[in-house]
């Protein structure tokens, strides 16, 4: 009896959790498959569900969708570049701080942490002016650089935590064999750090993919903008087709969801290592 009550209690918690999680996403899907004239009918399931909205998006058949594929490509480009670049910067820095005991390493680590902790939204306005003074405003470079600056601190932090767990003896053994720091980096460090590297690369990639505020501030020209900005432009449309907006949004939401699920285990262990001690 007690077991039954226990299970019942668990299910009683599970149901609201599922509803809470799923309803907004379900609604997103419903809007995406609603025909244009019924999109605001507020029904639980559209009377005439259709996939034509997706076709419209793919064929770029709307004023605000005229650069859809280009913008989708831009999102990929910016996300992947940010991921790789952040990985490069962070891995080098973490190796330098943790294994090589670089001079000033601890101070840089603390500065990185501080940067990580200041909310990105607060840096947005100064960053906008900064990119203006560098003459980079409205280029993909500006957004990528800003994303690297935002993603690196956490990346370095997590990688340093993970690096610290690697036994020192491995390094000493390599030195005994006459290895240079670069060789240790390539042959000892990187292979051992692979799970964390995957987690951090994905983290930076997703951060850049999902970014909206910096994207629309720094990169708004239609042909170079990522899809997140393109979605935002829909809101200024004179006929605001919510069904198309949601269909585009759904397409936009699929890559990060897929990536997250594929790399789920690496992500959770890699990322929680940063906040959980030990």
């Amino acid at each position: 009896m007690k077991r039954f009550l226990n299970e019942a209690a668990l299910i009683a918690i599970a149901i609201p959790v599922v509803l809470w999680t799923v309803v907004p996403l379900y609604h997103l899907f419903v809007l995406a498959i609603s025909p244009q004239d019924a999109v605001l009918a507020g029904t639980l399931w559209p009377e005439h569900p259709t996939f034509s909205n997706f076709l419209t998006v793919f064929r770029q058949q709307h004023y605000y969708l005229s650069n859809f594929w280009l913008q989708l490509g831009n999102s990929f480009l910016i996300a992947v570049t940010t991921g790789i670049a952040t990985l490069f910067v962070a891995t080098c820095a973490a190796f330098a701080i943790s294994r090589l005991r670089a001079p000033g390493g601890r101070q840089v680590m603390n500065l990185a942490l501080t940067t990580y902790l200041i909310p990105a939204a607060f840096l947005a306005v100064p960053m906008y002016k900064t990119m203006g003074s560098y003459g980079l405003l409205d280029t993909q470079t500006a957004l990528i650089l800003a994303m690297i600056a935002l993603a690196s601190p956490y990346a370095i932090w997590v990688l340093k935590q993970a690096s610290d767990k690697l036994p020192r003896e491995l390094d000493e053994a390599a030195i005994m064999d006459g290895a240079s720091p670069l060789q240790i980096f390539r042959l000892v460090y990187l292979p051992l750090m692979r799970p964390s590297l995957v987690a951090i690369g994905i983290y930076a990639l997703l951060l850049a993919w999902n970014e909206y505020l910096y994207a629309f501030l720094l990169l708004s020209s239609e042909k170079a903008a990522p899809l997140s900005v393109g979605l935002g432009l829909f809101l200024s449309a004179d006929d605001s087709p919510w069904n198309l907006l949601m269909a585009t949004g759904l397409i936009y939401a699929v890559p990060p969801a897929v990536i997250y699920y594929v790399f789920r285990n690496a992500m959770t262990s890699g990322l929680t290592a940063g906040a959980v001690k030990g």
Binding site: P35, Q36, D37, V39, L40, A41, S52, L55, T56, R59, Q61, Y63, G132, L137, D138, S220, S221, E222, L233, L235, S236, A237, D238, D239, S240, W242
Partner: protein, 461 residues
């Protein structure tokens, strides 16, 4: 690794230097032009065609950039501030946001020498909005080119009207009776049938430019004068203040009596259109005929079904009506509040002579008219000849016929034409704030108007 040949290296460097020196010289022959991306392909096509003709006839290269509405203005402002503006700029919100201020601050090139010879081809009302004050010289001159115009229209669903049991002949022509008709009679009848609709879509939101366009139109109905022709604020004068209080009361009463959707306080510019299209509201006002225009587009949209296209055609031709505002409370005809879209040449431009030639070329009928008509009725011409074209006057298109009659009946400009600070007043939407003070905070219209006047004086005094 091959050895680097020092001679070829230095030759390469010399060539690079020569090219680098030549490039600025070449830049003299390139014109940088920024335009708002057209809503219709026809607009962009016409623009590209005229640029092509210009390039062929003068040999000057034109570098054109097309931006979305908001982007265009943001970029232009940033470029002007950085001292690197394009040679020619045309954003459809320049007039609302920047033209007057730029003219005052001396950031625009005086183009009177281009306009004066062709003055007569323009409609006087349109041209007057580009005659602006330059704070540095203390004189007014022509600082912008009028390109196209817009004004407020009423739109309603004829089929919903009939569904409520009324015909168009039942619509009153006097101010208060008109709004009562839609609010009480039409809304009441449709609701009695169980429909969850609202009679009027009244923009109330601080975030929408529709709100101030709509509200200032109402203010004109009550004969409110905000500034005089020299830009001095006259709103605080007793009769204007009293009239403004009436206007605020009247406009907000549509909201307080439940005639407009409650979420109208949150509307973006698109939302009154959306609510009209999905028949949540029976009537709304809008500053272009983009509302029926959307259905015209849908009727030829390949991604819709045959049925949807046919319905859209029916909507455009029969169901949606473009109409005039009713008579003012005092019985007179409501003046049409019109905005003229302006193109400018920047004072910091490197190619002013060429820019002027380009604009003179564009102002020719054969160039300007296809551009304006490419918008399929969204924008109205600024030239007398453009207004006289069959496109507007032959009466085959019911919507354009109304637009044409409104414009030929005469227009009044926005306050910011006389006092550029009013672009800030509009950007802050001081008007919407007053309305929201009344409907959300429960403040009396008198107090709301006094707060409005105080804020306007702060900004524009």
């Amino acid at each position: 690794m091959p050895k680097i040949d020092l001679r070829s290296l230095s030759a390469g460097c010399a060539l690079a230097l020569v090219l680098a020196a030549a490039l600025p010289a070449q830049a003299e022959d390139t014109l940088t032009v920024w335009f708002t991306k057209g809503f219709y392909k026809g607009e962009d096509d016409a623009l590209l065609a005229l640029i092509d003709r210009y390039q062929k006839s003068t040999g000057v290269k034109v570098e054109l950039s097309l931006y979305s509405t908001e982007d265009c203005i943001v970029k232009s402002v940033a470029a002007v501030e950085a001292g690197t503006p394009p040679d020619v700029g045309y954003c459809t919100t320049y007039d609302f946001r920047t033209t007057g201020q730029w003219a005052y601050e001396g950031k625009l090139e005086d183009v009177s020498d281009v306009i004066n010879p062709i003055k007569d081809q323009f409609q006087p009302d349109a041209l007057a909005t580009t005659f602006l004050m330059n704070g540095k010289t203390g004189q007014k001159a022509y600082y912008a080119f009028p390109i196209e115009r817009q004004t407020m229209h009423i739109f309603y669903w004829k089929d919903m009207l009939q569904d409520a049991g009324f015909s168009e002949a039942d619509i009153p022509g006097t101010w208060n009776e008109y709004w009562d008709f839609w609010c009480d009679k039409v809304q009441g009848a449709l609701r009695a049938k169980g429909k969850r609709i609202y009679g009027i879509g009244q923009p109330m939101s601080v975030a929408a430019s529709d709100t101030f366009f709509s509200f200032l139109t109402w203010a004109n109905a009550y004969n409110v004068k905000i500034v005089d022709e020299s830009g001095k604020i006259v709103l605080d004068q007793p009769e204007n203040r009293a009239a403004m209080i009436e206007a605020v009361k009247s406009y907000s009463s549509i909201f307080t009596r439940g005639c407009t959707p409650p979420s109208s306080v949150n509307w973006l510019d698109t939302d009154n259109n959306v609510n009209f299209h999905n028949k949540t509201t029976v009537l709304t006002d809008n500053a272009t005929i983009s509302i029926p225009g959307k259905h015209l587009d849908d009727s030829t949209n390949p991604s819709l079904t045959e049925e949807q296209r046919a319905q859209a055609k029916k909507n455009y031709e029969e169901n949606i009506r473009t109409a005039y505002f009713p008579k003012k409370p005092d019985g007179g005809t409501l003046p049409n509040l019109a905005a003229t879209k302006t193109a400018v040449i920047f004072a910091d431009s490197k190619n002013k002579a060429q820019a002027k030639e380009f604009m003179a070329f564009m102002m020719k009928d054969e160039n300007l008219t296809p551009f304006v008509e490419g918008s399929v009725g969204r924008w109205y011409p600024v030239t007398k000849s453009g207004a006289a074209r069959p496109f507007w006057t032959d009466g085959t298109d019911p919507h354009r016929a109304v637009v044409s009659k409104q414009f030929t009946g005469g227009t009044v400009p926005f306050p910011f034409v006389y006092n550029y600070h009013f672009t800030t007043v509009n950007a802050e939407n001081v008007w919407a704030k007053a309305l929201n003070r009344v409907v959300q905070d429960g403040v009396s219209p008198d107090q709301a108007v006094d707060e409005m006047i105080a804020r306007i004086k702060e900004i524009a005094g």
